[in-house]
């Protein structure tokens, strides 16, 4: 049975797909009627200019059939305008006086004819330019891909807004009713404990089920009193089949509650991504003792470094403040920083506002992650973390195009007010939706010795250094550095490269919840982390067979699929290891995990740059892929050695569901 909330979410997705497809078709017609003629006008401009030059030569007394350099001139025009397939100068008798290029295969190619006339207006020759329909069609298709991507962004924004409404407290009664109706349709007769027990729609259902549970309990007690073991066993089997005697704790909403606030906040930061380098470039003083490239990248470097360095201390600070308070303070700090960035005219002040925004960002990130881990049961943690990851990925997909438009329409500085507004909205949603903060007053600080001790937790070191670090290293090195550099070298435009790079986040958004749910269902987090590492790393090895855009697309798709498999189970495994840390130092382990991940982010481009210079694109990518594969295999072996070591410890040792001992 599909509930009202799930059903309407699905319906909105389908309706929006149809509506956005209709807009896409309208966009295609508009492009054909408006932009294609603008491309043809370019050919007319070239034709008029070339004809004018020929007319000048003839006016200067050069006979038509003695014109020199016609072919090289036409060839230079063709090279400069790739839409032009062929340029041909013919006299009035139709004889060719010079040509460049070749006619396209398409018989319906558009031709632009410009007359070359004498001063008295008498026609002397014609310049015939044939437009390459393939190039125009490529441009139109690229534009339609951009429009389709906007459709995906609109759909994702809609689903996040739906999640915001569905997760609101006002819908608890509806959720309770749906949960009971769904249980009955599955033949499950368990009791539900939630805030809606006394509501009029729910109470009659609960009353019947409670009566049944009371009878079941009485029957079991009676069978036990009689000593009828077989009857007791049969009644217990009935309980297992139907849920009688079981109290259902209800859905876990930890991640659902945080998702809208996190999405809004993360989108605030992502808005700045497309215009930040340009803004930094315009703000950098001319007399700066840094290279221009470094000055442009410095705001990004400062942000990343501040986020990375804040991970460990903020893991503990967030526990001490309480998750909601941590989120709210972090979002407020970031919002003020974005407003500061909007007003800043001095480059160094701008850098300072980026650093404070990073501090707010790190506190929000750590608090949101802590909330999800604190409020999810171990068996639900992978799925909950998948929701957390998805909110960040969706924000990463939706933010840049919206930020780009804001910056184009309002200016780069003013676009930061968009970020500030979103951060404030995220703050308000978090304040209203997250549970009251429960500060952990005695949350322990983390020392180097504690971290060393943490690394001795079962398989944690192998997980962090074999999987978490290489995963981020691979992502940044391949997707964000090597692929753009290589495709640019092959002559692809920035827009085409950007479209190819979208394969990774789109696959992540679509596949993370699916793989997280499979990992939970099959109780195989470690297996998914291992397989994910092998798929993502193995994908990079494909580049040894070629570097065509199709192979690059396959590599990015395998990277997306592999990381979608591993990202949520990996976080859940770390959280699980952290739970076993003595002395309440679990926050430190999570901080260490994120620090190692972000170190992978930071070192990826530098190492990839070095490898690219020394070994070339394919070998550099393959070497990084191989490192990821070896890391994943190392993680797998750490589980085996541990399991076999503990097998010798005796049959009484507890076995985790991951195949290793805990």
């Amino acid at each position: 049975m599909i509930g009202l909330r799930a059903g309407i979410s699905l319906a909105i997705a389908v309706i929006l797909c149809g509506a956005l497809a209709a807009i896409g078709f309208a966009a295609r017609d508009a492009v054909e009627r408006t932009i294609v003629p603008a491309i043809a006008a370019q050919a007319e401009s070239v034709g008029r200019s070339a004809a004018s030059l020929v007319e000048s030569a003839i006016a200067a007394g050069v006979p038509m059939d003695r014109l020199v350099g016609v072919e090289s001139y036409l060839e230079s025009l063709r090279t400069a305008n790739r839409e032009l397939a062929e340029l041909k100068l013919v006299d009035i008798a139709g004889r060719s006086l010079g040509s460049a290029g070749a006619p396209p295969e398409d018989d319906h190619a558009t031709q632009v004819v410009t007359s070359v006339t004498a001063r008295n207006g008498a026609p002397l020759a014609s310049l015939i330019i044939t437009i390459d329909p393939g190039v125009v069609s490529d441009q139109v298709n690229a534009l339609l891909v951009d429009v389709a991507f906007i459709g995906i962004v609109s759909l994702l924004v809609a689903l996040e807004l739906v999640a915001l409404v569905v997760g609101a407290r006002g819908t608890e009664a509806l959720a309770a009713l749906e949960s009971r109706v769904r249980s009955l349709s599955q033949g499950r007769l368990w009791m539900h404990t939630d805030a809606a027990e006394q509501l009029p729609f729910v109470a009659p259902i609960d009353k019947h089920v409670a009566l049944l549970h009371a009878r079941h309990e009485k029957a079991r007690a009676e069978a036990a009193r009689r000593g009828d073991t077989e009857a007791v066993l049969n009644l217990d089997a009935l309980s297992a089949r139907t849920g009688l005697g079981t109290v259902h704790a209800g859905e876990n909403h930890a991640a659902t509650v945080i998702r809208p606030a996190l999405f809004l906040f993360m989108m605030a930061e992502e808005l700045a991504r497309p215009f930040l380098p340009r803004l930094a470039g315009t703000m950098a003083p001319a007399n700066l003792d840094l290279s221009r490239d470094l000055a442009i990248s410095l705001p990004i470097v400062v942000f990343m470094a501040a986020v990375a360095l804040s991970q460990l201390p903020f893991a503990v600070l967030s526990e001490r403040l309480g998750r909601r308070r941590g989120f709210v303070i972090g979002a407020a700090l970031a919002a003020l920083s974005y407003a500061g960035s909007a007003f800043a005219t001095d480059y160094w002040l701008f850098l300072a506002t980026r650093a404070t925004a990073a501090i707010g960002y790190a506190l929000v990130f750590v608090s949101a992650q802590g909330h999800v881990i604190d409020h999810s049961r171990p068996q639900e943690r992978t799925a909950a973390l998948a929701v957390f990851v998805r909110a960040i990925m969706v924000a990463g997909l939706c933010g840049p195009p919206i930020g780009g438009v804001l910056a184009d329409r309002l200016g780069d500085h003013m676009a930061f007010f968009g970020s500030a507004t979103l951060a404030v909205l995220g703050l308000l949603v978090a304040a209203l939706s997250m549970p009251r903060s429960v500060p952990v007053r005695d949350a322990a600080g983390v020392s180097g010795a504690d971290l060393m001790a943490a690394l001795k937790a079962p398989r944690l070191a192998a997980l962090l250094f074999g999987c978490a670090f290489p995963a981020k290293f691979l992502l940044v090195a391949i997707c964000f550095f090597l692929v753009p550099v290589e495709l640019q070298r092959q002559g692809y435009s920035a827009a085409a490269i950007g479209r190819l790079q979208m394969i990774y986040p789109i696959l992540m958004v679509a596949a993370v919840p699916l793989f997280a749910s499979l990992a939970e269902r099959h109780d195989a987090r470690a297996g998914f982390v291992l397989t994910g590492g092998l798929v993502a790393g193995g994908g990079a090895l494909l580049l040894l067979f070629g570097t065509s855009p199709w192979i690059v697309a396959a590599v990015l798709a395998l990277l997306g699929l592999g990381q979608a498999m591993s990202i949520a189970p990996q976080s859940a495994l770390v959280a699980e290891s952290a739970r076993h840390m003595p002395g309440g130092r679990s926050a430190g382990v999570l901080g260490l995990f994120r620090l190692i991940e972000r170190t992978g982010n930071a070192t990826g481009p530098a190492a990839a740059g070095f490898l690219l210079a020394t070994a070339g694109f394919a070998s550099a990518s393959a070497a990084i892929g191989l490192m990821v594969v070896l890391g994943a295999l190392g993680f797998a072996l750490s589980g085996r050695s541990r399991a076999s070591g503990q097998d010798r410890a005796g049959p009484g040792a507890a076995t985790s569901t991951e195949g290793s001992r805990v």
């Binding site: 049975m1 509930g3 009202l4 909330r5 309407i8 319906a11 909105i12 309706i15 929006l16 149809g18 509506a19 956005l20 209709a22 807009i23 078709f25 966009a27 508009a30 408006t34 932009i35 370019q42 401009s45 008029r48 200019s49 004018s52 400069a80 305008n81 534009l143 429009v147 906007i150 962004v153 609109s154 924004v157 739906v162 409404v165 006002g170 509806l174 749906e178 009971r180 109706v181 009955l184 349709s185 033949g187 499950r188 007769l189 729609f201 009659p204 019947h208 009878r215 029957a219 069978a223 009857a231 049969n234 009644l235 009935l238 089949r241 139907t242 195009p401 438009v405 184009d408 329409r409």
Partner: protein
């Protein structure tokens, strides 16, 4: 509960409509940007032709202010396209050296006009020695932009309204289904088949224990 359901349905309809509007607006912005690019490429081609001439002369050792033939060239190129308002050759001190519009010569023009295409003129050492600025009639852009707006609006408005109504319709159907399911769930004799079967099994087992039989 009914109020909550209908409130939710209306909210979802607003979300659906807002997201269609969002998609349409961003599609329009994307197309307008592409249109501007296509239009400006045309003026860019003109600017690049002048840049090529100026750079060739500079390569032969003729300083930019001394390239007096550029005046004729700018006038000739400007005459060829009625959408061009002026073509200026500007030095590194923002002084207009040559222009298709004589009134603009010697004007100091450090501004970056909105409807203009600029290309740098470089010497053999790739140092900038000036720039060519082609100012064009904004009407060329406005015409295309309003055509795009009209085309997308024609499709977006009915799509937006249709999406909202479709969401309300499906929401009402789902809410009615949930209401019926809630009523049936309140009466065990009308429970879904799986639940009735579980109930029958449980009642048989409980009766068996009460009667001393094994379930």
């Amino acid at each position: 509960m009914i109020r909550t359901s209908f409130g939710l349905i209306l909210l979802f309809a607003v979300i659906a409509a807002a997201c269609v509007a969002f998609g349409a607006y961003f599609s329009l912005v994307t197309l307008q940007t592409a249109h501007r690019k296509a239009v400006e490429t045309r003026f860019g081609v003109t600017a690049e032709r002048i840049v090529a001439s100026a750079q060739t002369a500079a390569g032969l050792g003729i300083a930019l202010p001394a390239q007096i033939t550029l005046a004729d060239l700018t006038r000739r190129e400007a005459r060829l396209d009625e959408a061009i308002l002026s073509i200026d050759i500007i030095d590194t001190h923002d002084k207009v050296l040559f222009s298709s519009d004589p009134a603009r010569i010697t004007d100091s023009d450090g501004s970056r006009p909105a409807n203009a295409v600029t290309r740098r003129i470089e010497n053999d050492l790739a140092a900038t020695i000036g720039r060519v600025v082609v100012r064009y009639n904004p009407g060329v852009l406005a015409e295309g932009e309003s055509a795009l707006e009209g085309e997308l609006q024609t499709m977006a408005m009915p799509t937006l309204i249709g999406s909202a109504f479709a969401t309300i319709l499906i929401g009402v159907l789902l809410a009615a289904g949930l209401g019926r399911a809630a009523k049936r769930a309140a009466d065990p004799s009308q429970w879904p088949r799986a639940a009735r079967s579980a109930l029958a099994e449980a009642e048989a087992a409980h009766a068996g224990v009460r009667g001393g039989e094994r379930p």
